[in-house]
């Protein structure tokens, strides 16, 4: 990246050769108890009008902080400690908070990450859109109301004038994000900053939202600054890419060039670990057996393990370890007064899981996949149907029998921040199942904890630490160690890698595959992410609205999807059709 100022400031050149946004050597720090911690350390980027630029990085890389610094939305303890943010030649970091208010909204729009918390629940949608329109002086009075309806129509809400009076809770996540995009674009800003605009949404919704955003910004000639952790999404949606790592830009330039030919070791790791890419690799590895060249990056799957998985698949012809037959779960949701609404979360589904294999339940939010996991774990009771585990009907289990079942079937939950007791040290957390089942004496438990920590590749000294000191990936490894403590037969992994960064996710998936091969574990893998399924599952059940729409081996589902819904899901994987470099 050239930093010579004379090149870019040339009054005679046409308008589009002048960058719209130019960030130069930006530094941002946060005041904490331990002094000033720098979060962004000398970032440069250039964005021209009409372009889309994506900042890619894992959590803590400083990508969001960079975007927040542009429009002065940093948290109260953060401040710009150096560098410039030039927007049409004006340095935004030098503006007063009054002046930046005029820039925000009218010149630079912002679409926040979480559509659930960024609309005020006590005001109607119409009121909130109108407020934004008035605040940015787009229109006033009656005009403003008209404009509100127009914005909502543009946002893709068909019956906009009816929808005005509704409240955020009456909108789905996707619709809310459309509204937020509408608000962000309502003043026709020159630049739109979209901070992970679709990370909280299902893939199919994500696709329509991103298509919609692309159409709107193309029509208005708006530049877009995308913040994302998803390399595939960046590749698909942005011409320009900036890869950030620990507050620094490690690689930047045309996105296709970077993804096809990553140069910096970090970018290479990131590209290698991107599930949509790796999923192709597994396929290749299975076709031409073991290709030693492929097992390169630490984040990517080991070819050796894949071969073993194939072997396992071959000799798993015996009876099902878990057999689910026609199960249903009906929830009664209390309405006002004494009325109840009925919700059929799981509707008559059946599947079987063979010993030593991985079966993935895939579906979007509300498809009932997590409910199936809870039903199997005996955390919820069945409404009808039966689940047998190793020949025993699990619904009939009581007392000691149930305890025995719990010993053999262990869960790992999604949220690595919530599933560990913050008051328990890691050692006590892992030892808890041993204590609960009265396994061994204190000395043996101590040894077992050490052994388990080693199995999940954590140093033995971790036992004295507390969850708050660990990263998400490390916590998830502790959760896996706890689940393995009793030497179970089955692990139920409920979105176990969904909250993790790509590289960490790859690492955990590798770990899980290794453990499966080593200990002969059976996995029930619940996820919304098809790309991950490709990496680890032998069989797939695609769920929609409480039913299984398609169930087959992973290869069949990916190569030859029969149902339209499965095809839509596969289509919607961001960057799924993009050819990455190696």
């Amino acid at each position: 990246m050239t930093q010579t100022v004379t090149e870019t400031v040339n009054q005679n050149m046409s308008d589009d050769s002048q960058p719209l946004l130019q960030i130069r050597n930006l530094e941002v720090g946060f005041e904490t108890q331990r002094g000033l911690v720098s979060a962004v350390r000398g970032v440069d980027l250039t964005l021209y009008s009409g372009q889309t630029l994506a900042i890619v990085g894992e959590s803590g890389s400083g990508k969001t902080t960079t975007a927040q610094a542009v429009i002065d939305l940093l948290p109260s303890n953060g401040r710009v400690t150096g560098g410039q943010v030039l927007f049409e030649g004006r340095d935004l970091t030098k503006l007063s908070s009054r002046a930046i208010q005029d820039v925000r909204g009218s010149l630079i729009g912002y679409v926040p990450q979480d559509p659930m918390s960024n609309l005020n629940p006590v005001w109607s949608i119409g009121f909130q859109v109108e407020e934004a329109i008035k605040a940015n002086n787009v229109a006033q009075g009656k005009e403003a109301r008209k404009r509100t309806i127009q914005v909502l129509k543009e946002a893709g809400l068909a019956d906009a004038d009816q929808r005005l009076k509704q409240f955020p809770h009456q909108f789905s996540g996707g619709m809310r994000q459309r509204v937020l995009i509408g608000i962000g674009l309502s003043a026709r800003p020159k630049l739109l900053i979209a901070d992970e605009p679709t990370s909280a949404l299902d893939v199919t919704v994500q696709r329509t939202i991103l298509d919609h955003l692309a159409t709107l910004t193309r029509d208005y000639g708006t530049s877009v600054l995308f913040i994302t952790h998803d390399l595939g999404l960046a590749a698909e949606r942005a011409e320009q890419l900036v890869v950030m790592y620990k507050g620094k830009v490690v690689e930047s330039g045309p996105s296709q060039q970077i993804l096809a030919d990553p140069q910096h070791p970090y970018t290479r790791k990131l590209v290698a670990a991107a599930p949509s890419l790796a999923s192709r690799r597994i396929q290749a590895a299975r076709a031409d057996t073991v290709d030693s060249e492929i097992s390169g990056g630490t984040g990517a799957l080991d070819a050796d393990l894949i071969a073993r998985a194939a072997e396992r698949e071959a000799d798993s012809s015996d009876a099902d370890l878990i057999s689910v037959k026609n199960i249903s779960k009906l929830y009664r949701i209390r309405q006002r007064g004494f009325k109840y609404n009925e919700l059929l979360a799981v509707n008559d589904i059946s599947f079987g899981v063979k010993k030593g294999t991985t079966t993935a339940l895939v579906g979007e939010s509300g498809s009932g996949k997590s409910t199936v996991a809870k039903l199997f774990l005996q955390l919820e009771t069945l409404t009808s149907g039966s689940i047998t585990f190793d020949g025993i009907d699990v619904a009939s289990l009581q007392g000691a029998e149930l305890l025995k079942f719990r010993r053999r079937v262990q869960p790992v939950f999604q949220d690595p921040y919530g599933s560990l007791d913050p008051q328990y040290s890691v050692g006590n957390t892992i030892a808890e199942p041993l204590v609960a089942h009265g396994v061994g004496d204190a000395k043996q438990r101590f040894a077992r904890v050490t052994e388990l920590l080693d199995q999940v590749s954590m140093p033995a000294s971790t036992r004295y630490r507390y969850p708050s000191e660990l990263s998400g990936g490390q916590r998830q490894r502790i959760a896996i160690a706890r689940a393995l403590a009793l030497k179970p037969d089955v692990l139920v992994l409920d979105e176990a890698v969904s909250a993790l960064d790509v590289l960490v996710q790859g690492q955990i998936l590798n770990l899980l595959t290794e453990l499966q091969a080593e200990l002969g574990l059976t996995y029930l893998f619940i996820t919304h992410d098809l790309a991950v399924v490709r990496l680890v599952a032998d069989n797939v059940c695609v769920m929609k609205k409480g039913q299984i729409v398609e169930a087959a081996t992973t290869d069949e589902v990916f190569d030859n999807p029969r149902e339209q819904y499965t095809k839509d899901l596969l289509e919607a994987i961001p960057g799924g059709n993009f050819v990455f470099g190696r």
């Binding site: 108890q33 320009q240 490690v250 060039q257 630490t298 955390l379 869960p411 007791d421 328990y424 199942p433």
Partner: protein
């Protein structure tokens, strides 16, 4: 992929840039930094508390007050019951820095010896409330159902009665009036507050993923309550209990002042303030000093409560 297939010409400032590796070394993925010392939530809370001067000021004051309450004779050479009318309403003099009451008793000695009753009532009532309210609230929140409904409604009834008013009525009919009965009566009307806070905190902790994980591990419900839920719900109770200790001391003084608290034979700040009322115009210091002792004690506990609740709330801590 051929590299010429990359769209329009590269513009100024957008050429492919690769950071020098020396400046951006790549760490091992998700490695644990073993150089950082291990620490628990409680250690963190302690760390945040000891950085605040308010914590040290209030702790030192409370320590002094507790010492005075436990060993008053160490702090005053004179007996508070040794009164001579010849000193009646006299000002400060050598050995008697705060002067004398109307009865000719040493004000300083009375304050020192009065601490015991006030602190005893405060500590006793707080303990009763924290233990009873805490247990009831925890059980109600954790098990829910009918028990919860009954406890909540009964709590509401007590909640609706002002503590001091209820205590006045009850104390005036009780045959025995001592520090223990005053504390018991105060606790009787004050437990619902702690119970409510505990119940709310338990409800939050009960629905957390780690409780779900423990159930799936096969840990029994009661053990989950004791080992996971209560430790995670106790913080707000500790904070509120510290504050209410101060409030109980005020309540005791109020009751004694009104003549329904501790009997006049017991030395207490409330009694002294009540008696000083009569000579307020001529000898204000007789009223002033016990009141100041009361205020400082209560303030110390309120300050400590404030610091403790901040320290136990990670969000509040992050803001400092």
């Amino acid at each position: 992929m051929p590299s010429n297939n990359m769209g329009p010409r590269t513009r100024v400032g957008q050429a492919h840039y690769i950071a020098p590796l020396e400046e951006t070394p790549v760490d091992e993925i998700d490695k644990l930094d073993e150089s950082v010392k291990a620490r628990s939530t409680w250690a963190d809370a302690w760390d945040s508390m000891r950085r605040r001067p308010m914590f040290w000021i209030s702790s030192v004051l409370i320590l002094i007050i507790l010492l005075v309450a436990a060993f008053p004779q160490l702090f005053s050479p004179f007996s508070p019951t040794f009164c001579e009318l010849k000193f009646s309403n006299q000002g400060p003099q050598a050995g008697h820095p705060l002067g004398f009451t109307r009865q000719g008793c040493d004000v300083y000695a009375r304050i020192i010896f009065g601490a015991q009753a006030s602190v005893t009532v405060g500590v006793l009532a707080t303990l009763l409330v924290a233990v009873f309210g805490g247990i009831v609230g925890a059980l109600a929140g954790f098990y829910g159902g009918v028990f919860d409904a009954i406890v909540s409604r009964v709590g509401d009834i007590f909640f609706a009665i002002p503590t001091v008013l209820g205590a006045i009525v009850l104390m005036s009919v009780l045959p025995v009036r001592s520090a223990a009965t005053v504390a018991l009566v105060l606790a009787l009307f004050a437990w619902p507050q702690i119970a409510r806070i505990m119940r709310g905190a338990v409800l939050t902790a009960r629905n957390s993923d780690y409780v779900m994980a423990s159930i799936a591990l096969g840990v029994t419900k009661f053990k989950i309550l004791v080992r996971h839920v209560i430790p995670n719900a106790i913080a707000p109770v500790i904070a509120v209990a510290t504050v209410s200790l101060g409030i109980f001391i005020v309540a005791e003084a109020t009751l004694s002042f009104l003549g329904v608290g501790l009997p006049p034979t017991v030395m207490s700040w409330g009694n002294d303030i009540g008696q000083a009322r009569t000579s307020l115009r001529t000898e204000p210091q007789v009223l002033l000093f016990p009141s100041a002792a009361l205020s400082i004690t209560v303030l110390s506990f309120l300050m400590l409560g404030d610091v403790v609740s901040d320290a136990l709330d990670p969000k509040e801590r992050a803001r400092r």
